[in-house]
């Protein structure tokens, strides 16, 4: 009887969700001293994958490792997949050295998205902290592309210092030219900084919205998200009007390995975007 071929010697199937596809760096921008944006295009002539705002890709730096990175570009232009990366550890620091023309592996897009259908006709309060603006940027592009479907749009964005604020030119343009109110704040200001100083939570009591027709989306470090949600709750928002994007260590990104487990949820598959009502009780559990 003929035996099936030894799996170790078969070529990986290109549609295997675990196999990264080669992507070329078509554009690269320094956002600030530790953060940069890579624009990726497929090396072959495959059609670009569309993505939903809030989803992420696994980016593989050959021989070094693979990391989950949210897509930070405009969903209307999926042919140029932007990823904004903060150099923190082994893989992301090595990624900072990449140049236009270099090739990385990419698989995805994965995960849940910001619930823009549920946001329709609502005032939308977008709260971002640090690198957390990157996963929210595709949502902002999308909301602005269908501006008439939404009520008041407010972005509250906090960073350590004025130099840490991402996408500064775009923020200024959005504030001036679109009906998106942009409020920036930093932890430490310089004399040249004329904006707000204080954590992003301190902006929440000052913004106007109609709480009975409002939702909030929050992305940033977990402590910041918890306290931002608390301030929104003080303003009368219910937990199911609030959405957060969770981060956990990941390996497979497709719900096999359990690395990203968060209570009963897998962040890679059930998240990263969750209704706050679902994850708030888990955020208080230290062991999760």
């Amino acid at each position: 009887m003929a035996l099936p071929p030894n799996p170790a010697f078969t070529a990986p199937h290109v549609n295997d969700p675990m196999v990264p596809q080669p992507y070329r760096i078509a554009g690269r921008r320094e956002e600030n001293y530790d953060t940069f944006t890579l624009e990726l295009v497929p090396l072959g002539d495959e059609e670009p994958h569309g993505f939903r705002p809030g989803q992420f890709n696994m980016l593989y730096l050959f021989g070094i490792g693979e990391v989950p990175i949210s897509i930070s570009g405009d969903p209307a232009r999926p042919e140029l997949l932007a990823h904004t990366v903060r150099a923190l550890g082994t893989v992301t620091t090595a990624m900072k050295e990449l140049k236009v023309g270099d090739v990385v592996g990419l698989r995805g897009p994965y995960g849940s998205s910001w619930p823009f259908e549920a946001l329709q006709r609502q005032d939308v309060i977008i709260v971002a902290g640090g690198i957390g603006l990157a996963p929210l940027r595709p949502l902002i592009h999308h909301l602005l592309s269908e501006r008439r479907r939404y009520g008041r749009l407010v972005l509250l964005y906090g960073a350590r210092t004025p130099g840490d604020l991402l996408f500064q030119k775009q923020l200024a343009k959005w504030d001036e030219k679109t009906a998106l109110e942009v409020h920036l704040t930093v932890d430490r200001g310089t004399v040249a900084w004329r904006g707000n100083v204080g954590v992003v939570t301190t902006l929440i009591p000052r913004v106007q919205f109609d709480v009975s027709h409002a939702s909030a989306v929050i992305c940033g470090p977990e402590i910041m998200m918890r306290y931002s949600a608390l301030e929104l709750e003080k303003r009368g928002m219910a937990r199911d009007q609030i959405y957060v994007s969770q981060e956990r260590n990941m390996k497979c990104a497709v719900g096999f390995c359990g690395h990203c487990q968060f209570g009963p949820h897998f962040v890679c598959k059930d998240g990263p975007v969750f209704p706050f009502s679902l994850v708030a009780p888990l955020m208080k559990v230290r062991e999760v």
Binding site: G129, D187, G195, R206, P221
Partner: protein, 155 residues
């Protein structure tokens, strides 16, 4: 008459929301309207702290300076915020600099006058101090989060 007009304006300020009219009239005797042009210092670290302000318009930065660090802005205050509580306790000196980042309009309260009125009327004292306590707790909580360097740390 002027005091009564001022007490009506005070009643519009978020800090005094829900306060009895008789207390507002009493406090209005210690208050006046003030203006600061953009860039001027409202007070400086080490100066005598004899007043507090309720901001009505504009933005104020709290700053501290140090060698090689220059001027560090650690908080901004806005319409409806309270500025200053060093008038409350000895040694009655300002701990930081406060600078107007825009044209600022405010109510200024004479600290000695307010302290005397609170001593004379404990109900007024309680009403005022519970408002200050709420503001202070809010600022302390925000300052704690700011100390955590939230955005710098990994998620």
């Amino acid at each position: 008459m002027v005091t009564r007009d001022l007490s009506r304006s005070l009643a519009q300020h978020a800090f005094f929301r829900g306060m009895d009219e008789k207390h507002l009239v009493f406090l209005a005797g210690c208050a006046k309207n003030v203006l600061f042009d953009q860039g001027t210092f409202i007070f400086r670290e080490g100066e005598k702290a004899g007043v507090f302000y309720l901001l009505r318009y504009g933005q104020v930065a709290l700053e501290v300076h140090g060698p090689r660090k220059g001027q560090i802005r650690f908080q901004s205050l806005h319409e409806d915020d309270v500025l200053g509580w060093s008038w409350l306790f000895p040694p009655y000196t300002w701990h930081f600099d406060a600078r107007a980042l825009s044209l600022v309009r405010a109510f200024a309260f004479d600290g000695v006058c307010v302290r005397e009125k609170c001593d004379a009327d404990h109900e007024l004292g309680y009403q005022l101090m519970s408002r200050f306590a709420e503001v202070m707790v809010g600022r302390l909580q925000a300052a704690r989060l700011q100390c955590l360097d939230l955005y710098g740390a990994p998620a």
